[in-house]
Symmetry: C2
Subunit: 392 residues, 2 copies
């Protein structure tokens, strides 16, 4: 019986997040409804609920259920009972948020950094300082901290907590989780920014474990991520989705990586601005857009071509991943509905017949909060995986 | 307790194939070794083994275990105890094999079909006829049939047993599984040819559920498939991996699908032969290769360009899926080691730094048998998923 417990733990682990999300999205909800909606047995759902209650994640609230009018014990969640710290590290900014169980940011701080402060140790100093300030200014009261999640651009070894390589941060083999743990004395998990962003967006949109969501990000870089049933698809080395250096044209423009015709030489903001500056001085993407709108054909030319390659990228992601939802993100796309529409028009011409109608393309819901929220969600998932006593 | 049984069934289902494969690859093997190698509890491994024995899949064989010299009850598999029928339908040929539990073809038949016999009903007639002949010529004796699996080119709805669309077969919404079931009175499961091919190759190479294998096929068409932990990755509609119509160049050559610059206009045999015939009459790929070898520069030009795009394709598949193994398949590549080497050389130049050394590229092991073997494996997986009484 002792050994059987091991298996039951494994079952429960797989279903904890599912039951928790179900209560979160449908609260108040009864045990019977949970079992029905998740397809679990009533006994399993009941056992998981009992554990969630034991550890203070879920509470009972007696009230009339809406359907039959009969009194039933309903389940609710005190979304502020546990808080995760979500950190977003980018090229020149660190953002820190206190994120509740519902994925809401209850307080946040950010700090811009100069180039010379952008090493792993300096960034860890800044991040730890922001966390301390945030906690000083927003005392948690009865809420309990469950850990720290960090989203960073580049290739991450999540198991070891290291930044393997980040072109944006110019880091290589940085043990950033350890750096932060030493400063904060809290467990730290890190992952690629787009992977946690996709996790946050997918969790915000859907209930349950079904569904396949792909995120495509086009901005300072190009990347993608895949969420299969609320889990990040990582591949063999957590490199999956790194499409910035997929090849568009083997005879194309030289990329900073030394290869020719990488996707990121076609559609990043930098690539577009470099082209624009061959014609006249253009300082940012909004200026380029203004020029297009004022009738400058060369500006339209650059933007239309980038939108065409954005559509090609989405089409190619659709072909390999076959998602039901594509989340398109990136500052320029998020700020300008017209750009999003232009990409969608071009995509409609590119999609192969059988894929027509199999997916929706949507814009990011959580925008510049999504990496913090996703990093916090990753903490919650990890704590659920490890066991239910999620407070530290 | 009755309800708890439901959960135990689910656990067992997930681990049955794993334990079965472990015994298959490591036989004779003890229960303790299985538990150790799979990471399962001894109780779980023991329960699954008991079920496998009950249904005649596994047998006990008392003998000395190699390590400690102590007498131990070892487990073995009578690989011919159960037989699945694997069928490979292609543009102008149907192949049928009797496949044992070890993925070995113990007998096979094939038939070439003329264009006018290539409708779903006519192909079902041919396939059913071949099955009957095969069973008449190779009586199964004590072996039991567990069902029929079919691999076909195109987009398949495996849940409904329909061919949604196949450009190669010129079929659309064909209820092919039903057609075959009506003729054979056996359960039939069908899937995309490359997906089952990848399943067979992956199962032949590895033990256990770890690993991420991507298959890339370049021949009469271009396609890919992904196996995550011995399971086919299907995406939302089982369309995942359909890269033939991913876009290489939005201003490129017109494809038969009506779009411009699809990958398949660059590297299929047909595309290469069409180009070659602009110079001089070339009837097949071997002739083209001969011309290259005899020093014809235009022939080298065509083949090198195709190898470059093959390398681009593999690189792009690596970027999205991050597999540990790429299986490269296709008749021309399988027949000519020189072509495989040329693709590998070009790939080495294309792979982005961090991906270097993260994957191996290998050629198909099972070659023209792989679709039959994979289709049979799909039958076995499905029967394991449904319950252990796999005979019909």
């Amino acid at each position: 019986m002792l050994l059987e417990k091991h298996d039951r733990e494994l079952m429960k682990k797989n279903n904890r997040m599912l039951v928790f999300d179900m209560i979160l999205k449908c609260r108040p909800i009864s045990r019977a409804e949970i079992a029905k909606k998740t397809g679990m047995s009533a006994a399993s759902a009941g056992r998981i609920v009992a554990d969630l209650i034991e550890f203070g994640l879920v509470k009972e609230t007696e009230q009339y259920s809406s359907g039959v009018g009969r009194k039933a014990t309903m389940l609710d969640i005190d979304v502020d009972a546990f808080i995760a710290i979500g950190i977003h590290v980018d090229r020149n900014v660190v953002k820190v948020g206190l994120v509740n169980l519902d994925g809401q940011i209850i307080a946040e701080e950010k700090r811009h950094m100069r180039k010379e402060e952008s090493g792993p140790s300096a960034v860890a100093d800044h991040a730890a300082d922001l966390v301390r300030r945030l906690l000083a200014r927003h005392p948690l009261g009865s809420s309990k901290l469950i850990g720290v999640g960090v989203g960073l651009p580049g290739i991450m070894n999540t198991a070891e907590g290291t930044v393997v390589f980040s072109a944006q941060l110019e880091w290589r083999n940085a043990r950033f989780a350890k750096e932060l743990e030493a400063r904060l004395h809290l467990p730290v998990v890190l992952d690629n920014d787009l992977k946690v962003k996709a996790l946050a967006e997918s969790a915000a949109r859907s209930i349950g474990t079904e569904g396949t969501t792909a995120l495509v990000s086009i901005g300072s870089g190009v990347g993608s991520a895949l969420i299969i049933g609320q889990q990040i698809y990582r591949g063999a080395n957590n490199f999956a989705g790194e499409i910035g250096h997929s090849t568009v044209d083997p005879n194309g423009r030289l990329c900073e990586c030394g290869k020719r015709g990488c996707l990121q030489t076609y559609i990043t903001d930098l690539a577009m601005l470099q082209e624009a500056n061959q014609v006249k001085p253009v300082s940012d993407m909004n200026e380029l857009l203004e020029m297009m709108r004022s009738g400058e054909h060369w500006a339209r030319n650059i933007i239309e071509r980038a939108c065409t390659y954005a559509a090609v990228t989405i089409n190619n992601v659709v072909c390999v991943y076959n998602p039901d939802t594509i989340i398109l993100t990136g500052e320029f796309i998020e700020d300008h509905a017209g750009i999003f529409e232009m990409i969608q028009q071009k995509l409609a011409e590119l999609v192969w017949g059988p894929f027509g109608g199999t997916f929706q393309v949507v814009r990011s819901q959580l925008r510049d909060k999504s990496v913090m929220i996703g990093a916090a969600r990753l903490v919650l998932q990890q704590r659920f995986d490890q066991g239910l006593d999620i407070s530290i």
